[in-house]
Structures are given as structure tokens and as C-alpha cells.
């Protein structure tokens, strides 16, 4: 049963990815800007241009180009980057860990802050503290992540310089790693010196991404906690002699968390999208930063590869959330 659901999900995903690839493929070829012109030195002859166009297949129709590309993808070949002349797949997979680590760190920060604010606000509902939490999260939500990035750079990079404002790691340490999952690897190898350097680089971009999501979690979770607190089983638990903290965490939270979970899944995909600008802002060497370079250079194969990878990421996140939802909600487990 679960297998069948997974298979049908997979089929939908494939169709979605096909659609995404068509849209990207066509769009980046229709918008102005010519990759060939960017590659050639000034004064190149007409013949040079034609030769290069033929080499990259730009002399064919868009439909032909698409099917050539798709055939390659089926065989695991996403083409060659025009800029760096390297296989797109390798370039993209090299950068993926950096973006994944940043996004997951941001998600963890958002869940911790948002969850803490929601629980505190529920515990102290009706007091000034709850009002302060509402105002704070309202503010956090109405400022976009890249502006938070600038604010953080100003605060902790300039006025009180405690964090690094650019890069993923101090350059001389890069050679210490064997994989590209720097943060993960530093933890597994118990190299906390490396870990500290990584975190002092990643913390600010991650926090900038996390703040709006933390605000959403705080507001939504607090709302559903407060609704849950009126339900009969919560009242019954109070008559058993339990204190308010216990009642909130054990009775209300497991049920209140469900609607929040769905939304966090959707919002997390937005967060991954947000890495594009944040990575640029903090010169963080991830996928997003690479995407901007690729767009500037009109590196069409690379753009296609990055967008497809982002699309795959989004689908995986959604699938994961669906499964988590089924695990947490006993009413769905047997359905």
C-alpha cells in the first residue's frame, strides 16, 4: 500500500520535473542574451560564431535542442558548462552539500526559535509576554530574508564583529575535508575546531533565512496550540493533577504540531529558494551563488541543471513532509 503510494508519487514527480525542464529550457533560450557572444573575444569572425553555435548545438531548433538534452539527461549527462567546460552534473553536485547544509541549519534554527516562542506564548497567554512575541514575529515576518541578512551583517559583522560575513569556511581549512558536507563531516570526525569555523561562517546566512520562517512557525503553532488548549482532553489532563507545562507539551503539542508541519514543508521550499540571494549576499559558495553566476554568464546548460536540481529538492522535501505527517498522525497510519 505504502509502496503503491510511493510509486504514484514518483510518477507525478517525473511529470512535474519534465514540465519544469520544458519551461526552463524554453525560457532561457527565448530571453535576450547570447551565450556565444559572451564567450568570444571582440573581433571574432562570423565563421567563428557559427562554428561555436554548431558546437553547442544552438544552430538547431529549440525543440531539437530539448530532445538532445533530454536524451543526455536520461543517460545521466546534463551537458557541459559553457563557462567552465566541466560536466554540469559534477559542478552542481559539488555545490549541493553547501546549500543543503545551509538550508537545514536554517530550518533547525527556525524550528527551535519558532517552537520556543510558540510554547512560551501559549504558556503565558494573555500576558504582555505573549503580546511581545506577537509583535516580534509580526516584524520578523514583514522583513524579507535578504534584508535580515544586511541587518545581521551590520550588527554582527561591522558593529560587533563576532561572525564572519563572507564565505563558507576560512580558505586555508578547505583542504581538511574529504567530502563536501563540511559541517556534517566536521561533526562525524569530531573536529570541533573546523566545526566552529564553519558555524561562524554559516550562522548569519542561516539566521537570515531562518528569521521569517521562525516567525511563521511561532504564529501558526501558537494559534493551533491555543485552540487545542480548549479541547476536552486537555481539560481532563488538568483534572488529573498535571501542571500547565506538562499539559501543553504532552497533550496539546503533538496535535497542534500537525497543521504547522504541512506549512513548514511548503515554507522550507521557499527557504531553499531564498538561499539564492542570501548566498550571494554572504559570498557563500553554494548552488544559489552558482545559479546567479550562471545566469549572468548565460551558461544555459548550468542554469538548466541547477533549476532541475532545485525542483528535485522541492519534491523530496514535500515527500518527506507527507511521510512525516503520516507517522505523526495515528489516524492516517492505518489508512
Amino acid at each position: 500500500m505504502i509502496l503503491r503510494r510511493l510509486l504514484s508519487r514518483l510518477a507525478t514527480t517525473l511529470v512535474t520535473l519534465l514540465g519544469v525542464s520544458v519551461i526552463v529550457f524554453v525560457t532561457i533560450r527565448v530571453v535576450p542574451g547570447n551565450p556565444i557572444a559572451m564567450m568570444l573575444p571582440p573581433g571574432a569572425t562570423e565563421a567563428d560564431i557559427d562554428r561555436l553555435r554548431a558546437l553547442y548545438g544552438f544552430d538547431r531548433s529549440i525543440m531539437e535542442q530539448y530532445f538532445i538534452w533530454l536524451w543526455g539527461v536520461v543517460q545521466g549527462d546534463f551537458g557541459t558548462s559553457i563557462q567552465s567546460r566541466q560536466p554540469v552534473l559534477r559542478l552542481v553536485l559539488n555545490r549541493l552539500p553547501a546549500t543543503l547544509e545551509l538550508s537545514i541549519m536554517a530550518l533547525v534554527i527556525a524550528v527551535v526559535i519558532g517552537g520556543f516562542l510558540a510554547l512560551t506564548g501559549t504558556r503565558l497567554r494573555g500576558t504582555r509576554t505573549e503580546g511581545a512575541i506577537d509583535v516580534t514575529s509580526g516584524m520578523a515576518l514583514s522583513v524579507p530574508d535578504f534584508l535580515w541578512g544586511l541587518v545581521l551583517i551590520l550588527l554582527f559583522g561591522v558593529l560587533w564583529p563576532v561572525f564572519h560575513i563572507s564565505g563558507r569556511i576560512s580558505p586555508q581549512l578547505t583542504s581538511e575535508f574529504t567530502t563536501n558536507f563540511f559541517l556534517f563531516e566536521s561533526v562525524v570526525r569530531l573536529r570541533f575546531d573546523l566545526w566552529r569555523d564553519l558555524v561562524s561562517h554559516m550562522f548569519m546566512p542561516a539566521l537570515a533565512l531562518a528569521i521569517p520562517l521562525a516567525a511563521i512557525i511561532s504564529q501558526l503553532l501558537k494559534q493551533s496550540l491555543k485552540e487545542t488548549m480548549h479541547l476536552d482532553y486537555v481539560t481532563l489532563s488538568r483534572t488529573k493533577g498535571y501542571g500547565e507545562n506538562h499539559v501543553i507539551i504532552r497533550e496539546a503539542l503533538p496535535n497542534a504540531v500537525l497543521p504547522t508541519l504541512t506549512l513548514v514543508g511548503v515554507q522550507f521550499t521557499f527557504l531553499i529558494g531564498g538561499t539564492v540571494i542570501i548566498e550571494r549576499l554572504f559570498s557563500y559558495e553554494g548552488l544559489g551563488n552558482m545559479a546567479i553566476d550562471a545566469v549572468i554568464n548565460r551558461d544555459l546548460p548550468l542554469i538548466q541543471g541547477i533549476v532541475i536540481l532545485f525542483a528535485v529538492l522541492f519534491t523530496v522535501v514535500n515527500l518527506f513532509v507527507d511521510m512525516l505527517y503520516a507517522v505523526l498522525n495515528p489516524r492516517l497510519r492505518h489508512a
Partner: protein, 295 residues
């Protein structure tokens, strides 16, 4: 105070609003079954909630004492009060469909008080829960303990809640309209079950209901409320033979008689309402003169 539960002069207000309970005094002896009767809004549920410490945040106690097992609950710190209530009293809630936590298994919801509040060993609590579930005629109690609430029918869930209420051998159980949300066919079974469990365990029972028929079957005595005022307290036998208060008589007359389908409905007469409302106003007037000011 000899009574196990003794409510003295209890007044509740809706914050900034009128009184919900008007100087209510009520005793429940150990092992006694006391019915609380009245229309909706008469304040009968509020009494049960006040005793169990689960009044809504918008409701405030302005005067009175609630003596439970020789302790005035209202003088305790909130955390002490909850523990005292949890250790000596229990609730059979109105709606079994919403009174069990949907994301927790049934077993822990029956045993949690025994383990966390009363300090039992987990294995003992488990055995006790199985025993009680069998006592309320739940087939295959071990399986039910492992189930989630949505896997059980409404009647089954109410049985679980009854077992849970009796599991800690409380001295007092508040049953808040425990059959109202159930199918008529199940109502009777649950009613019998509560009565039988009460008799076997000798628990005092505060039975909140709007149904005089239920009171006549289960209770030994009753209190009739109108507008937060106790208008009559009598043993059940006297009440059904000769209600003392005009409002009680009207209420009794208004109860539909299923044995006589041709009898018309008798709403409580206008004059009786006016009279009892005057009584309520009178109570408020003398109360204010007694020194308490509403600010």
C-alpha cells in the same frame, strides 16, 4: 466539616460581568450520589468545574470555600491544588469523542495519573488499568490499551473514560452530563455502568445533568439550580413526591413522559420564571448589602 465535599457560599463571576454562581452552598457526603439539575446556563456545570479546578480563564471566584477532603482548595497554591484534586477527585467528561487525546494510545491515558501523580509503579498501573477496563465490560482490554481513540466507538470510549476515572480510587467523581453526547441506546448502558461502579467503589458522585429522569435513576439527593442560585436541595424520594420549590414543580411537570405520548409538553409557566428571577435579584441585592462591591 464532616462532608467529603463541602462548598460554602461560592460565588463566581464572569470577569467584569454578572455572577454565574450566587453564594452556592452544597455538601456531598462520602459515598453519596448528588444530582445537580438545572436548565443550560443555570451554573450546574460551573460547580463541577470549580471543584475540579478547571474553570475557564474568564471566570473568577469572588468568594467562598471549596472543602475537599478537609482542605480548602481555594486557599492552596495552584500547583498544590491541581495535585490535591488529581489525587482525590476525577472527572467523567461529557463528550467521549473529544475527551481522549487522539494522538496518544488509550493505555497511557488511563495509567498516566497513577504513575505520574500517585507514584505507582508502571507495571502496577498497567495491571490496574486492565482490571478496570475489564470491570467496565471492555472486551480484550489489552488490545484496547494499545489502540488509539479513533479505533474505538463512542460508547467504548466512554467506558474507557469511566475506567480511567475510577482507576485511582478517587473519593469523589464529577460526572458532567456523561450521557448527553451518546446514542440513546448506549445512554442507558453507560448510566447503569456508572451507577454500578459507584456502588461497588463507594465513591461520592456529583452528577451534573439536565435530565430529571436520569436523576431519579441514579441519585440519592439533588440540588436544583436556577440562574446560579440553589433553589432547592432534597433527597430524591422527597423531591419526586413533593418538590418544595415552585420552580422545581414546574421543571418536573415540564419533563416529557415517554409512557404517555398523548400528554402535551408543559413549558415552565411565565409566572414561575418571574418569581424565581425575583428571588435571584433578591439574592444579589442582599449580597451587595453584605459588603461586597463590584468594581
Amino acid at each position: 466539616m464532616s462532608a467529603f465535599l463541602s462548598i460554602r457560599n461560592l460565588s463566581l463571576v464572569l470577569k467584569g460581568g454578572p455572577r454565574l454562581l450566587r453564594s452556592v452552598s452544597l455538601d456531598v457526603e462520602a459515598g453519596e450520589v448528588r444530582g445537580l439539575v438545572g436548565e443550560s446556563g443555570a451554573g450546574k456545570s460551573m460547580i463541577g468545574k470549580a471543584v475540579l479546578g478547571i474553570l475557564p480563564r474568564s471566570v473568577e471566584v469572588v468568594e467562598g470555600e471549596i472543602w475537599l477532603d478537609e482542605v480548602d482548595l481555594l486557599k492552596l497554591r495552584p500547583s498544590e491544588r491541581r495535585r490535591k484534586i488529581g489525587a482525590t477527585a476525577a472527572l467523567i467528561p461529557q463528550d467521549p469523542l473529544t475527551a481522549l487525546n487522539p494522538s496518544r494510545r488509550v493505555g497511557p491515558q488511563v495509567t498516566d495519573r497513577l504513575v505520574d501523580i500517585l507514584g505507582w509503579k508502571r507495571a502496577d498501573a498497567q495491571a490496574r488499568a486492565l482490571e478496570l477496563l475489564a470491570e467496565v465490560h471492555i472486551p480484550d482490554p489489552a488490545r484496547v490499551m494499545r489502540s488509539y481513540p479513533h479505533e474505538l466507538s463512542g460508547g467504548m470510549r466512554q467506558r474507557v473514560l469511566i475506567a480511567s476515572a475510577f482507576a485511582a480510587e478517587p473519593k469523589l467523581i464529577v460526572a458532567d452530563e456523561p450521557t448527553t453526547a451518546l446514542d440513546v441506546t448506549v445512554q442507558k448502558q453507560i448510566l447503569h455502568l456508572i451507577a454500578r461502579m459507584q456502588a461497588r467503589h463507594g465513591t461520592a458522585l456529583l452528577f451534573v445533568t439536565h435530565d430529571l429522569g436520569v436523576v431519579s435513576k441514579v441519585c440519592g439527593s439533588l440540588a436544583v439550580l436556577y440562574g446560579g442560585l440553589v433553589v432547592e436541595q432534597s433527597p430524591v424520594r422527597d423531591f419526586f413526591r413533593q418538590p418544595a420549590h415552585a420552580y422545581s414543580r414546574a421543571l418536573l411537570a415540564a419533563t416529557p413522559k415517554y409512557t404517555d405520548p398523548m400528554a402535551g409538553l408543559n413549558p415552565v409557566p411565565e409566572a414561575v420564571i418571574t418569581a424565581v428571577q425575583a428571588e435571584v435579584a433578591q439574592a444579589d441585592a442582599s449580597w451587595r448589602n453584605g459588603g461586597w462591591r463590584h468594581d
